[in-house]
């Protein structure tokens, strides 16, 4: 799929690209998307397909019956559920849901308005309810566009009971509704409409001709927003932002202009660079790691970062600073290795055409973003790119950058010990293993989506999946929380177990790459074994499904005394009988708490 930016393409080029694309022979992850619209959304689907193909995803699309959503989601044997969607998009236009709220608002009494609004809310609740009875697919629900020419004119929006505020209240209500259905999210159509404005979002001609009110521009915007959710679901959100310095973090070239002439501050153009830095800091606070990769004398750059009074970003915000005269390709590869993340988790921002083209050619897995000529556009570019979006910002996310600093301290400490066991004992690690609960579910789901290396089967679970598995009698989900003398790392491991008769199956077993190599997996495995014994089962089966990234765990079960059973459809199965299963664990942990039961 071409690397062209969708914003530079004519609609017809996108249509052609999608129609001629052949996924055969390409290693593309499948994704099954069901659209349930009550109006015509075909252009949105065209753009969704294009964006999916660009990111290495192969989408299968299901289009619901036009404006028959409730019937369709109520049919457990119907084609929607047989399609097995990963994601369900619910696209509702208020005009088709409650014509009176949009077209006849001024003729309705306050009571009638309230009744209509309640009816809409109940309809949506019913739809979500029916969906969750039948599937744990992620649900994306569009909220409602607020009319820009309100029913009662200028006095409409003075009043809480005016059309504008009634609909705003309804939208607000949607947030409360979705809270009851895990794995469901609002897509803010009204906010998207504001980005380009109603006049560019809405096409009245096609609304009347084909019930297709979205312009091509609106369709593109909505598809891009859907893509942010898809990336978050698939765990392909980026983890580290690497930045150039000159004409990126500040205006000018430090080596030539010197500390006093570079532009960063409260007046033009320095204010644009300052806002850009503030947007970058915002990402830092969300758990994105920041690095620098700049061709400069290291001291010059560090002087700015450490002492320029108007800098927003400081030394402590960066996990890696590569300032030298080497090739940026080499530096970027080092950054990925140091952080133990794939190249495909990096975003590289630079103002130079040359550097960007070079990275695109040499390290195509990295997302290389070229800054526009005008620094006043930098902030919006970063805030709208959607490359770092996650479905939730967990405690672990917010602390990720301080986790990294703590890891550096751990690495430094390691050098003063002769044996690893002495070092591990020095760490004073305390592990707690518990069953998943409402607080831990989002982080556990996120872990299954983002962890690639120490991940035995690479099975991904949504929040709704984890909740269901945790609540069922025939399955269980454990998480492992780790802290040591340097800090609390939060939830860093999870095991998903299924119970069949006398056998327990480890459906997936994973550990954050940051805590590999300290025997922590032994503790989690022990919890699984305890679960097996307490359930009175006779054996526990572990599965290893090879992926391009998890080769390091291929012998995990073998190394823990499991017996190899054989291959099954590309996966390798191992068995440990309850009889004689060793529940020992390394002695260097300061404290281990395993709470398998209620």
């Amino acid at each position: 799929m071409c690397d062209c930016n969708i914003d530079d393409m004519e609609f017809i080029e996108v249509v052609k690209a999608v129609e001629s694309f052949n996924a055969e022979g390409k290693d593309m992850a499948p994704i099954r998307i069901a659209f349930l619209p009550n109006f015509t959304i075909n252009h949105v689907i065209t753009y969704c397909k294009f964006l999916c193909y660009q990111e290495g995803l192969n989408p299968e699309i299901y289009m619901g019956d036009y404006d028959n959503i409730l019937q369709e989601v109520m049919d457990p044997d119907g084609s929607l559920y047989r399609f097995s969607p990963d994601i369900i998009m619910i696209c509702l236009k208020m005009e088709n849901l409650s014509e009176s709220l949009i077209m006849e608002f001024s003729s309705l009494s306050t009571t009638a308005v309230k009744e209509e609004a309640d009816r809409v809310a109940n309809y949506i609740t019913s739809v979500l309810n029916e969906i969750r009875k039948n599937t744990n697919a992620m649900i994306l629900l569009n909220n409602f566009e607020i009319p820009v020419f309100p029913s009662l004119g200028i006095c409409d929006y003075q009043d809480r009971n005016g059309q504008v505020n009634i609909l705003r209240k309804l939208n607000d209500n949607l947030l409360d509704i979705i809270k009851n259905y895990s794995g469901s999210y609002i897509v803010d159509m009204d906010l998207l409409k504001s980005t380009i404005g109603y006049l560019h979002f809405n096409d009245n001609r096609y609304w009347h001709i084909g019930k297709a009110p979205l312009t091509v521009e609106a369709s593109k915007l909505i598809a891009k927003e859907y893509m942010k959710f898809i990336r978050a679901l698939k765990g392909t959100g980026k983890k580290c932002l690497v930045l150039d310095c000159d004409n990126t973090l500040w205006g000018g070239i430090i080596g030539e202009d010197g500390m006093h002439k570079i532009e960063i501050g409260n007046t033009y153009p320095g204010s644009a660079y300052r806002e850009f830095q503030q947007a970058i800091l915002n990402l830092y606070n969300r758990g994105v790691m920041l690095s620098i990769c700049s061709k400069n004398n290291e001291r010059d750059v560090l002087d700015v970062i450490e002492s320029h009074p108007d800098m927003v970003l400081r030394r402590e915000h960066f996990v890696s600073i590569k300032v030298n005269w080497n090739d940026k390709v080499k530096n970027l590869m080092e950054i990925a290795t140091e952080l133990n993340i794939g190249l495909d988790s990096l975003v590289f921002i630079d103002d130079s055409d040359f550097e960007i083209e070079c990275i695109r050619k040499m390290l195509p897995e990295i997302k290389a973003v070229k800054l526009p000529r005008d620094p006043s556009q930098f902030r919006d570019l970063l805030n709208s790119c959607g490359l770092f979006d996650t479905l939730t910002v967990s405690k672990e996310d917010r602390k990720r950058n301080s986790f990294y600093r703590e890891d550096m301290q751990r690495k430094d400490a390691k050098t003063s010990f002769c044996t690893l066991d002495d070092y591990y004992e020095y760490l004073e690690m305390e592990a707690v293993i518990r069953r998943a609960d409402s607080f831990s579910i989002p982080r556990i789901a996120q872990l299954t989506e983002r962890t690639n290396q120490f991940n035995l089967t690479a099975k991904r679970y949504s929040e709704a999946d984890i909740k269901e598995l945790g609540e069922s009698n025939s399955s269980q989900v454990f998480f492992l929380n780790l802290k040591d003398r340097f800090g609390d790392s939060g939830i860093v491991g999870a095991a998903i177990l299924k119970h069949f008769g006398t056998e327990v199956l480890i459906d997936n077993f994973l550990l954050s790459c940051r805590v590999i190599g300290r025997g922590i997996e032994d503790l989690l495995l022990k919890a699984c074994i305890v679960y097996m014994i307490e359930r009175g089962c006779e054996q526990i089966v572990g599965v290893y499904t090879p992926t391009t990234k998890n080769a390091q765990v291929k012998d995990f079960y073998r190394n823990h005394s499991f017996v190899y059973l054989g291959e099954d459809n590309g996966s390798f199965r191992y068995l440990l009988p309850a009889n004689g299963a060793c529940t020992g664990m390394p002695g260097y942990f300061k404290k281990v708490t395993i709470e398998c039961n209620e």
Partner: protein, 80 residues
């Protein structure tokens, strides 16, 4: 202009450019359904930077009308 119009139609309707005859329409072309018609109008409006009215959109269901209305729009915008 006619050539560009034919190229756009060929792309959207998935037919060969030289098969686009004067009498081709939604009635006699298999691939030209209402969704494709929407795509066709969008493509023409984007390429020629013009806007059609709803009425024009519903009557432009054959090559002759497409050409006529496109020319009309183009003449108007070139004139100003």
């Amino acid at each position: 202009m006619e050539d560009e119009l034919k190229a756009i139609m060929a792309d959207v309707l998935n037919i060969q450019k030289d098969k686009i005859t004067y009498d081709i329409s939604m009635d006699n072309c298999d691939t030209w359904d209402s969704l494709k018609h929407m795509e066709l109008i969008v493509a023409i409006e984007q390429r020629f930077k013009i806007t059609f009215t709803a009425d024009e959109i519903v009557t432009m269901t054959n090559f002759a009308e497409l050409k006529r209305l496109l020319k009309k729009r183009r003449d108007v915008s070139d004139g100003s």
